[in-house]
Structure formats: structure tokens, C-alpha cells
């Protein structure tokens, strides 16, 4: 009876088994890959058996594959009546010096491994294949993080390769309690993602909830952390996010040690951490490297900077338009005289200058480095000099914007929120003065207090109140006190959704 021919292609290959006939295997593989130009198939003879060595171009290290695979296999001399399985046994147990090796049986596994930089060896007569890890694709070296810049902390940051990131974390946490859970996401991209958590700190329910959320995420491709974080956040109408990102291994280790769960994603240097709290946006590595009194001072400076960055322009517009009696006589006269020189209403002026600033800021991020200096000149000249001297905007408003912009750089993690809220506050203040600002503030307070991520309230430990956690909120106590009884996610007051049944 003729064998039924199953035509394999990119839609039905996942569970198809690799046949023992080498010729058929190669035909199927070429069909699945649509004869893609980066598929490299070398047909060789290994100890008298027809074989094939398969990889993706540019993904493997030529030196390693020559030394560890080709050389030993080409020189292999098994006894005369050896079977194809003997070649596999040789590769698995003797002679091939790679750590990463495994036997696979389906085309789905084969495709995934060769596209991850593995070399696959197929032997005629033996079903399945052996894959050997000799990755040699180009990757960026470990360097200083581009965001989360600091003075006294470590200068290494995550890179795009998940396994390198895992090693950066493991170097810092040399304990078997630190667990890595590697799996794939993305139907087409099959991106490697890795859950990182401490088995003695992370509540079991939290880890399971996160795993369930990720399993339910049906994505075609996962190319950055932004693809995954909405599936962890769970509250799309929230202004803030209950999932934070970090580029720093030291920060990730600290968060994981508090019982949080981190997610490394292959292809992006930004790790996700859940759950995240509002107050953590004001905590940086340098806080813990400085003396406690200075750390406390900087902490309060950041709180004040957040208020300035968000509310200052709106406040200014509201007070000038509706509550000028708040200012002293001298200041009021100065402000009024500046305002009288400009053609637009203060609200419109504030909106124009805010949007101009956002354009400059966005341009500064996007434009090529070689012309980067130009943006400073354009911004300074256009907004600073020309707009004021031509009377389009008033000088006090420019001072307000300067303060606002500087403050927003202090808490760069909240840049998205401060940018939008700034405009909302300007509109509210321009429409109905401090009453409008109060209404927006009430909305914001309700919105933020409603936020929860995997059962952890976003405003913890402020509300619900955890007294012990205040030593790292209102002040930055010394490490002797902070480490004596570290606050864990599962002990934040009001968290009753998790028993403290950690992984043990």
C-alpha cells in the first residue's frame, strides 16, 4: 500500500514527525521553509551513513561548528555493521563537546532549534534529529543601560539575548531559590521568554496567575515588552501601569527578592516586573548607595518634581485666569504686564508651548545622533529666544515650562503619564481654574486607588497602609534597618489574596 503523502508546509508542520528517510526529511524541511535562502543543508557521510547537517545562515559560529561538530563527525569511524542509531548514540554520549544537545522528533522542534542558532544532525535510517547548541549570531555586548542612568550603581544593563540576561541575574543571585522558567510566546515568532522569581518569596498564586495570563495571550509575534505588558496589566483604562520595566539586572534582583515576578523577553533589553507599585517610580539605585539623609532628601525632591511636572503649568494658568488674588501685588503686576504683551490667551499659549516642547523632546529621541546637537540649538533659539522676543509667548510661561521639563526628567519612568496629565491639567485649569484642577485630581485619585495588579493594590503601601514599608517611602532608612525585615509583596497590608504559600 502506497504511503499517504502528507504535504507539509508552514501551517501544518508543528507536530509532524521527522521521518527516518533522509531524502523525505529534507524535502519536507525545504517545503516548510519555502526554500528560504538562509536554510543551509549540508549532506555528508558519517561513518558510512548518509546524513545531513542543517543550520540557519548567520546563526551559528563557524569556528565552533567546525571544531565541535564537523571535525569529530567527519573523522568518526564506527564498526562496519553499525546502525544509524549508533551515530546518534555517539553524538549524545561521546565526542561532541557541546553543553546544549537534545534529541528531537518533530519538525516543530527542528525549526525552532535551528532558528535559535542550533545545528541539527539527521541520519538516514534514524527518525528524529539531534540538535547541538553552537550559537554564533551577532549580539550586542553588555553595556551601560540607556535609561535608568545612575552614578553609584552597576553600569551593566540587559541586552537583547535572553540567555545573556539570565546569566547577568544569576551572577548576582547565587542561590538555588532563584528560578528561571523558560518558555515560548508568539505563534510565529516563538520568542523565548523567561519568568524569573524567588521560590521562597514569590507567592505561588501570583506566579500561577502570571503564567495563566501569559498562556492566554494569543500573539502572532512578540518583538518587545510592550506586546506582553497589556496581558499582565489587566486594567486598560488606568492612567498608570501596574507593570514596570527595567534595563538593570540589579534592580530586577532587588524586586525579585521582594517577591515580585520578572519576565525576560528575547529580543528586547527591557525586562517586565509585576506587580509594580506607584511609589517605586520614585526609587532608584542611587538612593540606596547614598547616605540615608541624602537618600531621603532626593526622595522628597522626586515627589515634588512629580507634582511640578504634572500640575505646575495647569496651576499657573488657573491662578492667573481665575485666582489672581493669590499672588502678591508685585508679582501680579509683573505677570500681568507679561501677559498683556502676548496675543493669545494664557491657556492657548500654555498648550502651544507644551506641544512644542513635546515635539522637541520626541525629535530629540528619534533623530540621528550626528544631528543631535541641532535640536538643542533649534529648541533654544526657536522657543527660548525667538518666541519670547517676538511676543508670541510670555517669559514667565517659559520659566514655568523650563521647570516642568526639568522636573519631568527627574522621574523619567512616569514620562508618559506626566505628558498627558500636563495637557489635561492645562485644559482643566484654563476652563475653570483650581476647581477644574480639583476635579481632574479627584478623577486621578479614584483611578489610581482602583488599580490592582494580580491582587496587589497599586497605591500600597500608602493605601492600604503598611507602617513597616514607610521606612522606604517617607524616608530612606539605612540598610541595617531595611534589610532586617524586608517588606515582601505578600505582606503589604490589605493583601489577602495571597496566603504566604510560597513555592516551598
Amino acid at each position: 500500500m502506497a504511503d499517504k503523502i502528507n504535504f507539509l508546509d508552514a501551517t501544518n508542520y508543528s507536530d509532524a514527525q521527522i521521518p527516518s528517510d533522509l531524502t523525505q526529511s529534507l524535502i519536507d524541511l525545504r517545503s516548510i521553509m519555502s526554500n528560504s535562502s538562509d536554510l543551509m543543508i549540508n549532506t555528508v557521510t558519517i561513518s558510512g551513513h548518509n546524513s545531513a547537517i542543517i543550520c540557519c545562515e548567520g546563526m551559528v559560529s563557524t569556528d565552533s561548528s567546525t571544531e565541535l561538530i564537523f571535525h569529530p563527525l567527519m573523522n568518526l569511524k564506527l564498526p562496519q555493521y553499525s546502525k544509524p542509531e549508533d551515530v546518534f548514540e555517539y553524538i549524545q554520549k561521546y565526542g561532541i563537546l557541546t553543553f546544549d544537545r537534545t534529541t528531537i522528533i518533530t519538525f516543530g522542534q527542528l525549526i525552532r532549534f535551528i532558528m535559535s542558532g542550533f545545528v541539527a544532525v539527521l541520519v538516514n535510517g534514524a527518525s528524529g534529529a539531534i540538535v547541538l547548541g553552537v550559537q554564533g549570531y551577532d549580539k550586542r555586548g553588555v553595556s551601560e543601560p540607556t535609561t535608568e542612568v545612575n552614578v553609584l550603581g552597576a553600569q551593566d544593563g540587559f541586552v537583547e539575548t535572553v540567555r545573556v540576561n539570565m546569566s547577568l541575574i544569576r551572577r548576582r543571585m547565587k542561590t538555588p531559590l532563584l528560578k528561571f522558567d523558560l518558555f515560548q510566546m508568539g505563534e510565529k515568532s516563538k520568542t523565548d521568554v523567561c519568568l524569573v522569581y524567588m521560590t521562597d518569596k514569590a507567592p505561588k498564586k501570583l506566579v500561577n496567575q502570571i503564567k495563566n495570563s501569559l498562556n492566554k495571550a494569543s500573539l502572532e509575534v512578540v518583538l518587545s515588552s510592550g506586546y506582553v505588558s497589556p496581558f499582565l496589566e489587566g486594567q486598560p483604562l488606568s492612567v498608570f501601569s501596574g507593570v514596570s520595566t527595567t534595563q538593570r539586572p540589579d534592580v530586577l534582583c532587588a524586586k525579585v527578592n521582594e517577591g515580585r515576578v520578572a519576565l525576560l523577553i528575547d529580543g528586547t533589553p527591557f525586562a517586565l516586573i509585576a506587580p509594580s507599585l506607584f511609589i517605586e517610580n520614585f526609587q532608584t539605585v542611587d538612593d540606596y548607595s547614598n547616605r540615608p539623609f541624602y537618600g531621603t532628601y532626593i526622595r522628597w525632591l522626586k515627589y515634588f518634581a512629580f507634582i511640578l511636572a504634572t500640575v505646575l503649568p495647569g496651576f499657573y494658568v488657573a491662578i492667573i485666569n481665575f485666582h489672581p488674588e493669590m499672588f502678591t501685588h508685585t508679582l501680579l503686576l509683573n505677570l500681568i504686564s507679561s501677559k498683556l504683551m502676548t496675543p493669545y490667551s494664557l491657556t492657548v499659549e500654555a498648550l502651544i508651548i507644551t506641544i512644542l516642547y513635546e515635539i522637541m523632546r520626541e525629535a530629540g529621541i528619534r533623530l540621528p545622533r550626528v544631528v543631535g546637537a541641532a535640536i538643542g540649538i533649534v529648541g533654544g533659539l526657536v522657543i527660548g529666544e525667538a518666541a519670547v522676543s517676538s511676543g508670541l509667548i510670555s517669559a514667565p510661561l517659559l520659566i514655568v515650562l523650563g521647570l516642568t521639563a526639568s522636573s519631568s526628567f527627574v522621574i523619567s519612568g512616569l514620562n508618559q503619564q506626566t505628558s498627558i496629565l500636563r495637557i489635561v491639567y492645562i485644559l482643566a485649569g484654563g476652563l475653570s481654574g483650581l476647581y477644574g484642577i480639583a476635579i481632574v485630581t479627584a478623577f486621578l485619585i479614584f483611578n489610581v486607588c482602583d488599580m490592582e495588579t494580580f491582587g496587589i493594590q497599586y497605591m500600597a503601601p500608602l493605601s492600604p497602609f503598611t507602617p513597616k514599608a514607610m521606612r522606604d517611602v517617607f524616608v530612606r532608612m539605612g540598610f541595617k534597618k531595611l534589610q532586617s525585615d524586608n517588606v515582601k509583596v505578600s505582606t503589604l497590608n490589605g493583601v489577602t489574596r495571597y496566603d504566604d504559600n510560597t513555592q516551598k
Partner: protein, 354 residues
Amino acid sequence: MKKISYGQVIFLLFICRVFRTLTFNPFRDTNSGVLMWSILISTVLQMIILLPLFYIYNKHPGKSVDELAFGISKPVGYIITAVYALYFILLAGRAIKYFTYFMTDMFPSIKNYYFIAITIVIVAGYGAFVGVEALGRSSIFISFIFIAMIIVMIITAQGKMEKINLDIAVQNPADDIFSCVLKELGMNSELTTFALLLPYIKSDIKKAGFILLGMKLVVLEVIVFIYTTLLGDYIKLARIPLFVVGSYSKTKFIERFDALYMLEWTLCAALTVGLFIFLASKGIKRMIVRVKDTYIVLGVALVCLGVNFLLSLSHKPFDMMLDKWFTSILMIVLACILPSLILLVLKAMKTKAE
């Protein structure tokens, strides 16, 4: 079911009580001495009023008063639920009216009455929509802002606190103490919220009740003391003495603080109205189960807005709502007498069944 801690209950109801003082002063025709005594006496009475609710919390955990009424019979349950829902709608409408009157009186430059009423209902409706947990957590922030505001008022007040002002104020003619106690009891309508908040309180309602009463007593006495010693006889002319005290604040770089204090007034209004809309919505949800929560909250918010506009059309219903007998008796009935009656009927039914 989402629950709140006893601390959040305390701050939530504290703000509701403080909101009455912030926007309305029924004691213009009395003196501060009598007022301070009436606050003390009414606090003691409030402790007694809360006792049946403490009993319900312990003996029937997870049930509110209106849910308990369904244990008597369905029609009785519906009637009791409707009564509470209507009461909270009335309270919300009245709170909106107090706030809009305050805003239009003190800040006429900020839009008109309708704009203020609609915006406060929108934000309060959103508060009701997000639920009691968010309201409870918000109350902590708003309470701390309130306390900070009081401290700033004291520090920046331009007047001096003079004992002689207190002497003059206490010698003013006054209502008899019984009337003042009744008025003060009527100002504490937030106690009725306990009747429907019972299932949402995580633990230790007694602690919540007593700390709340203690906190109210201290804060209200301090507020009365402050504005009496600062303003003296001028209190009789002041519509809202606390706000007048705030108007006297001044520093070298801020000439007047009253617009800043208005921020806190607005936050308190949003929280108070939001809580009342939430409780009314929960009651109506019990009666109309099939309708989505969002639509019920929206409907209740619109009705509260309507009640507010109706009250502004004629002074008669509003004056009635201010009447000390109406407010105090209604509060006592809904917070104490009705729960006690329900408990007695249920006990009688149980005894009969046995």
C-alpha cells in the same frame, strides 16, 4: 466581594462628616460654648445609636441591614432597600446642593451653578463606579490633605487666637442645648452608611465606630475652638466659619489661600457624593438584578442631579431637609431604630420557628 479595612471606613466617614461642616453651618444663631457641648453630647448618643449595627455585624456577618430585611419577607426587604436607596439619593442631592451653593457664593468667577453640579456628579459617579475599595483608599489621601489644610490654616492665619474671643462667643444668645444636640445629630447622617457598608468592612467594626466618633469629636471641637478664638463675634455673620478662617491665611508669597482650600472642599464633595451614589446603587441593584451595575450607577447619578435641581427650584423642600427634627429623626430611625426592629422581628420569627 471587595472589602475595606476599618481604617478606610474611619477616614471615609470622617470626610463625609467633615464635608457638612465645610459647606454648611446651621449654628449661626447659637454660641460656640453650646455648640462644643452639643458636639460632645451628640457623640455619646451616636455611640448608642451604632450599637444595633455592631450587633448585626457580629451576629449576621456579611449582611447589610436591607439584606437582613429580606429574611423577614421579600416585600419587606424591597421596601427597606428602597427606603435606604431613596435616603442616600436624597443625601447625595443635598450634598451636591450644599457644594454648589458654596462654590457659587465663594467663587462666582468659576462658571455657573449647573456646570459645578454636573461636573461634581460626573466625578462622584466615577467614584461610585470604581467601587468602595477605591473610595476607601482615596479617603486616606483626602483626609491627610484635610489635616494638612487645617495645619496650614493655623500656621498662616493672620489673626491671633484670643481667649477673649472665646469668652465673647460663649456669651452670645443661643438655642437651648437640646435643639443644638438635635441639629448636631442631624449633621451626622454618615452613620446611616454603616447600615449598608457592613458587608464591605473587613474586620473590627467596633474599633472603626469608636475611633471614628473619637476622631470626629476631637477634630470638630478643635475646628470650633479655632474659628471661635480667631473670629470671635464675627462667626455670627459668617456663612461657613472655617472657610472664613481660611480666607485670613496669608504668607509673603501667597496673598490668599482660599482658592487652594477649595481644592480640598472639592475632593471632599466628590468622595461624599460618590459614597452616597455607590450605596444607593447597591440598594437599587438588589431590586433590579438584571441591569448592569454601570447603568445603575449612571441612573442614580442622574437622579441625584435631578434631586439637586429640584431642591434649587424651591426653598421649601430644602428648608425642610435642614430642619433639625427631620434630619436627626431620620438619621436615628435609619441608623438605629429600623435595624433594631429588623433584628427583633427576625429573633421573634426564629423563636416561633423553634
